[in-house]
């Protein structure tokens, strides 16, 4: 779906009142289509009106009420066209009060955001591996300890530019890695989606 059509679809989905849907039916479109626009015209350094971040304080139907880290309040509509990520591509029913999120979409006339994509609890950690034990990577993230949990069937490793594989045996203590994962709210623990490591 072209980006402009997708935006029109998202807007009409919200304005038409069809945003509320069976939870498991949401999040069906590929996120790549949200990034097909040739150019984003926004002043460099400016705050992006089509982006929101923060923690979910309430869920009402398909509306997420979010308290921004800067204390701004956001209302984010999830529609049939919204792609949802929480450790993996997933569905609306996986989103919980207390989760953190980043969202991108279309600002509605009433100030709410109709979401193209929502990334729930996503973290991107540049860290050093300090220890490896059964099912866990112990990480030093800028001086803070973070425990990374290996999730069977989900966690993958990318060694340089190799395809993602489930074999984590190439990870080494002392090496730097990048971890894409999902934060476990109010802890120093994450579930690992992908760990990028050199070879």
């Amino acid at each position: 779906m072209p980006s402009t059509d997708r935006r029109r679809f998202l807007t009409s989905a919200v304005l038409g009142g069809s945003a509320v849907a069976g939870a498991t039916a949401l999040g069906s479109l590929a996120p790549e289509t949200a990034f097909a626009a040739p150019r984003i015209d926004l002043e460099p350094g400016a705050r992006d009106p089509n982006f929101a971040e923060g923690r979910i304080t309430a869920i009402s139907g398909s509306l997420l009420k979010v308290s921004g880290s800067d204390k701004a309040l956001h209302r984010i509509y999830v529609t049939h066209g919204t792609s949802i990520w929480k450790l993996r591509p997933t569905t609306f029913d996986e989103i919980k009060v207390g989760d953190g999120l980043y969202a991108r979409g279309v600002k509605m006339p009433d100030g709410a955001l109709a979401a193209d994509a929502v990334w729930v609890n996503i973290v991107n950690l540049d860290a050093a591996i300090t220890a490896i034990d059964s099912g866990r990577l112990h990480l030093d993230h800028h001086g803070n300890k973070v425990v990374g949990h290996v999730v069977n069937g989900t966690t993958a490793a990318v060694y340089n530019h190799t395809p993602a594989i489930s074999d984590l045996s190439g990870l080494q203590v002392g090496k730097h890695v990048k971890v894409i994962g999902a934060w476990r709210p109010d802890t120093n623990e994450v579930d690992i989606a992908t760990v990028y490591a050199g070879i």
């Binding site: 460099p44 929101a52 993230h141 730097h176 990028y196």
Partner: protein, 141 residues
């Protein structure tokens, strides 16, 4: 200048980072080396933003001769996966390029080596999905 039309673009990997007020492990990120960094703004981190910054990131050790560009400088970053472009201003030092020398990321036949730029989540998500983590880009000044 603007997207994909400068005379001497740089090609490399981009990733994203959080800064400013934030939740989760990002909560202690702060305002970055320039003191103005915010995850909701279109900003970036650049490895050669100052002498002190360069001494940490050392892109030269990966064979990257990146120009000195300081706080507020504007780059145009084009995803080689989607073709989308975003303009960003420098707000922090990074990425730690020399920790990942030789790392390579591909998107189809478009490949790039070495981490040259980190974008805030708002900027990165304008041209790529945050779940990708790394992506090949062209950087114009």
């Amino acid at each position: 200048m603007g997207c994909s039309n400068s005379g001497a673009p740089a090609y490399g990997e981009m990733s994203w980072f959080c800064c400013g007020a934030a939740w989760g492990p990002c909560g202690s990120a702060g305002g970055g080396a320039c003191g103005t960094c915010n995850s909701s703004s279109h900003q970036c981190a650049w490895p050669n933003a100052s002498d002190a910054c360069f001494n940490i990131t050392r892109p030269d050790q990966c064979g990257e001769g990146l120009a000195r560009r300081t706080c507020g400088h504007v780059f145009y970053v084009t995803s080689r996966c989607s073709g989308s472009c975003v303009s960003v201003s420098i707000a922090d030092c990074g990425p730690d390029t020399n920790s990942f020398c030789g790392e390579r990321t591909c998107c189809g036949s478009a490949c790039a080596s070495n981490r040259l730029i980190d974008l805030t989540p708002s900027a990165y998500s304008a041209i790529a999905s945050l779940s990708t983590g790394l992506s090949p880009v062209r950087i114009d000044s």
